[in-house]
């Protein structure tokens, strides 16, 4: 009897498949035990709650490209997009071991606003953003040949008709900025969430949307194709890269807090207590990256704005999140579509 004429049924098939899969899984076991005893013990896995190819990807690669010099480890981005970052965070907190080898690279602003709108399944105290990488203010922008030359044109038109505004997602600091502008000026805006920065810009460039609101770093990266009209920060530190647009507070005399997106590395809070030595290594080497001139070169080469690179420690991130929580609570009914 040969294998070709052996009787074969569905049970045998499933057993065969299980054997093949089992063998494949078993073959990876020796590698798992082959790492050394020091830290980092192998690759550093970085969960990114957005898709590959976006702004977070660009920033992470620029940062880890330098960080690996000091940490002597390879960084493996693990993109887990979905539900405005919820999938990535829940995955990180629920399935990644708390050992210092697993990090999260999130955009604190929009993602924390998400939790204000709808809390996660994990306790927020169990997650700590321990190193801020940048602070990127929201901005209002139009395409280069738009009839809106200034924010005054936008506001004037917004008083005549409701303007459609693309945004990455409703729960986003830039969306909050736009709502604040509408509230202050009486202009009518209709926020259209387009799932991600690329789509937000595409909505404006293709002319489907009247204007867009997004992190200004992504807007500046598009160069002359877009024109920035307003920035949600105390000062427009990017200057002519954002068309010397005024800030909302300068223009309207408001006292709006800076509406920043802020990318940061997160870790399970238990790591700080259980592995203080590892946490110290992570922190110390991160600080070395910011001092490295090669990092500045990498940021500028990737069309980033160096002035937005802004290290912050745990206290800074906690302060930032408190501000986001307050702003999010204020605009929660508008962001959820559920009147208070």
């Amino acid at each position: 009897m040969t294998l070709f004429d052996k009787p074969f049924d569905r049970r045998t098939l499933l057993q065969g498949s299980a054997t093949i899969l089992g063998a494949a899984a078993a073959s990876s076991v020796p590698f798992a035990g082959a790492f050394g005893a020091g830290f980092p013990d192998g690759d550093i896995s970085v969960t990114v709650p957005t898709r590959a190819g976006g702004g977070a990807d660009r920033n992470l690669r620029a940062f880890t490209g330098i960080w690996k010099k000091y940490l002597d480890a390879t960084f493996k981005p693990d993109f887990k997009p979905g539900a405005s970052g919820r999938v990535g965070y829940e995955f990180f907190m629920g399935k990644k071991e708390a050992n210092g080898q697993n990090l999260l690279f999130g955009n604190m602003g929009p993602e924390f606003l998400n939790w204000v709108v709808k809390p996660p399944t994990f306790d927020l105290a169990d997650l700590t953003y321990f190193a801020r990488v940048d602070t990127d203010p929201g901005a209002i922008f139009v395409r280069a040949d738009s009839p809106f030359k200034t924010i005054d044109d936008v506001v004037a038109e917004g008083k005549k008709r409701t303007l459609n505004v693309s945004t990455s997602r409703l729960a986003h600091p830039a969306s909050v900025g736009l709502l604040a502008l509408g509230e202050h000026t009486g202009a009518q805006f209709n926020l259209i969430p387009l799932s991600g920065g690329k789509n937000t810009i595409a909505g404006v460039v293709t002319g489907e949307m009247d204007l867009g609101t997004l992190t200004s770093g992504s807007v500046a990266a598009k160069g002359a194709a877009l024109r920035t009209l307003l920035v949600f920060n105390d000062e427009n530190v990017a200057g002519d890269r954002l068309n010397n647009a005024p800030t909302m507070n300068q223009k309207y005399g408001t006292s709006l807090p800076p509406l920043l997106s802020s990318r940061a590395f997160g870790i399970q809070t238990s790591v700080i207590k259980d592995h203080p030595d590892r946490f110290k290594i992570l922190n110390d080497t991160i600080k070395q990256v910011f001092a490295d001139p090669e990092y500045k070169e990498a940021v500028i080469k990737a069309k980033g704005i160096w002035e937005y690179i802004n290290y912050g420690d745990m206290d800074d991130t906690a302060k930032y999140l408190k501000g986001i929580e307050e702003v999010g609570s204020k605009f929660k009914p508008l962001l959820t579509g559920k009147p208070a």
């Binding site: 660009r58 979905g82 969430p193 595409a202």
Partner: protein, 506 residues
Amino acid sequence: MEEVSFQMFAELFFHTLGFWWIIIPAMLLGLIVGAIPGFSAANTIIILLPLTFAMEVEQGVVFMVALYASSRMGAGIPAILVNIPGTAGAAATPLDGYPMARAGLGQQALAMSFVASTAGGLLTTIIALIAMPWLAQVAFFMHSVEMIVVMLFGISLIATIAAKNTLKGLIAGLFGLMIGAVGTDFVYETPRATFGFLELYDGIPLVPALVGLFAISEAFLVIEGESILTRRGKELMDNPSWKASIEGIRMSVKRWWHITWCSLIGLVIGVIPGAGASIASFVAYQQSRSYSKTPELYGTGHPEGLIAPEAANNGVTSGTLVPLMVIGLPGGATAAIMLVVLQFHGVNFGPQLFGERPEIGFGIFMAMAVTYLLMIFTILPLSRYMTKVTIVSTAFMAPVIISFTLVGSFVPREFGFDMALALGFGVLGYIARRTNYHVAAILIGIILGPLLEQFFLRAIRMANGDLTVLFSSRIGNGLWIALVVTIALPYVLDHLRARRRRRETA
């Protein structure tokens, strides 16, 4: 800026050809990863990013483009031979490709698929190279309303499938649409039918659905026999020869016009940011069937039913690069990854790119054209020898299909859950086939349903709930008319043919 002329393109062509040492390995790699379910050009480029970052920018571009173009062609191989569409772009390929393979015409089917891929890809790349500024304008006119109608072109295939068994066809299509609605909504991110599974928040992942419905259910079926081939198919495969591949090439060359217009459908859809190969291949299939003289043969191994999606999904490849290069907007996932690499190398996008760095601006399309040209040489050997897969006993074939597809389900998102999901879809597909429900109708609902919902919600939200927005644009209205015509046309033609037959017999 260097003057755009024939001489410049000729120089660029020979310059790009000089990168053969990058193109050929990348092309072979693309064919392999394209043929493995779950792998794609996008995730392979992500894995190889350190390599592309380390390369000179021009070399990196050539490498990525060659891999991208060839992976599309590679994806057709398992779709035809073993009913495994490894990517959504190849989802329409097995509808006619697999019946051909089962009938012992695998060589012809592969040859046709390869000719449609290379000719369609080459043609649309040349058109993109020449007509880039005008093509980029398509993105400025195809907004949500227009995209709703484009989606309906694809979704109307459900009605076509339902024509054979109206009730079961519509039930299958609606079931697919319901499955497609799983996940968080596009505006407020409210979870729907996720049953608490985090893995379903981003909707039903396509690869597990694809491989489950098509490949795993097929594996469950084929183990009931000794071979996937029909009796006639076995006879044909007993004496394989080069003739069969040459016949496949001849059959496709004869249908050059079909390749041309289906690849153009792909090109235009590829230019629109947010659209993609899955939409293009279903729309091309639907269009091909609507205007066919033998629509009733679609789904049984009709050559044009195979050529249409393959030509279209290769047309998309060059299309996605047009908005990337001209306006800096990637037309698809792979183009988005290329954007990261090009930005890393400090490349500025937009019209100025073609003046400042023509070797990148025009070169990206020339690299694609050269890749497609070199791919022509793979047609004969690949179609001749890859087909041998179909003669493998189901005793080996079925477990290998299941193992490969389960691993393939895991790869895109690295969730073990997706493997279980693929098995679940396999059981669903098996039950559907056993009870004569068409799995393709379910799949169309799963793939196109969420896209339709996304564009619909966007259009309605922009119009503050006013449904008349669906008829508010001239292009949209033109597309609505075209949709009605293409749906009604087969019925009108059937009626006319029947009347003619009655007259002739009277």
